[in-house]
């Protein structure tokens, strides 16, 4: 191989350098990088040694926190099951309207469990209805059958305008459509397939959850 060949190959490789057009770093950025680097402790804490230096108090506080969290959780579960009379949904001044709201942001983006009669039967509000109107931020339904809750003629579902599109998508509310809808004690709609367009399958789930 001649020197000429080598030089040619060198030149060709260098021409392909992807960093050849990389502009020089901003000096302020470099200064900040150096500063950040030097502000790091010289001792490293790793997974292996990272917890050795924690005081017993830290562990005590952590244990206490765990106990409190578990206690609150158990209290919530027990209370939820023992409530004989489900809390009535928030009522408007007009007794023939049940006001519900869309689920909060978290529920709309949360993962779903498969709809089941067990969970459904815990809900204080459940009905079979037809969408009468969809206006800005408000869906109104005519109820044909109440599975649970104090019967009213109409149900409104309110959602902040930013969330209404998501709500419509989650339940697929369409004007004139027939729906099975359930809501929790806070009057929040259950999504994730619990509240959905009427189907035989979903109707039998509601029948199972709320045997008449």
């Amino acid at each position: 191989m001649t020197q000429h060949d080598d030089d040619q190959l060198d030149a060709r490789l260098r021409a392909a350098d992807p960093a050849s057009s990389l502009p020089a770093a901003d000096p302020a950025w470099v200064a900040r990088l150096l500063e950040d680097t030097m502000s790091n402790d010289l001792l490293t804490e790793s997974r292996e040694n990272g917890t050795h230096n924690r005081s017993p108090l830290t562990w005590l506080v952590a244990a206490a926190a765990a106990v409190i969290i578990a206690g609150v959780g158990i209290f919530a579960v027990v209370n939820g099951q023992d409530a004989g009379e489900p809390a009535p949904p928030p009522q408007a001044a007009d007794p023939t309207v049940t006001e519900l709201t869309g689920p909060d942001q978290g529920a709309l983006s949360a993962r779903c469990m498969v709809p089941n009669a067990d969970l459904l039967s815990d809900q204080p509000v459940a009905f079979d209805g037809t969408v009468a109107s969809i206006s800005d931020g408000l869906v109104t339904l005519d109820v044909t059958h109440w599975y649970a809750g104090d019967p009213t003629d109409l149900v409104t579902v309110e959602a902040p305008s930013a969330q209404i599109q998501k709500l419509l998508a989650a339940v697929q509310f369409k004007d004139g459509g027939r729906y099975l809808v359930a809501a929790n004690e806070s009057g929040e709609l259950l999504v994730c397939g619990f509240s959905a367009p009427y189907t035989q399958g979903l109707a039998s789930l509601y029948d199972q959850a709320f045997p008449s």
């Binding site: 191989m1 190959l9 490789l13 021409a15 392909a16 470099v30 150096l34 680097t37 790091n40």
Partner: protein
Amino acid sequence: MRSVSIDERQARFEELAPGLIEPLRRYLARRTDPVTADDVLADTMLVCWRRLDDVPDEALPWAYGVARNCLANVERGGRRQQRLAAKIAVVDPPVESTPGPGERDGALAEALDALRTEDAELLRLWAWEQLAPGEIATVLGITANAASIRVHRAREKLREQLRKVEAPAGHEESREGRNR
């Protein structure tokens, strides 16, 4: 570890580091995406700061070696995500990524890809970082002699690959029939 005051340490690092940052930035820009490059540069500088007493007089090749390891660590972690991304990309292919500056030497890129990873890396260190075999040896943790031989062989292989890549593209094959 030698005990030096924190001020002395900072002074030494401030003297050393600015000369490393620009070459390391380029090293990383050639081998990964900009976001990863910034992350790995910060990791690399942190290692240099913590191991300041180990940094040799010829600091740059040593620092390249550190950057190489830091990048390998990050890529090991990212490989699973990449596999997932590749699956998604098959379903929904992204717009062809923009090639580098100027006219991209597709044949060269293809030939480099066809080489073993180690051979391609030797050639990049040689041509792009413009390191001498002795310095390449420091980066890769091999002897200078081995680096020298491997660079030579890698060049041969690259030439070979280039011939293969470019042959079907209609170039008159003057070496046809020659025994290789």
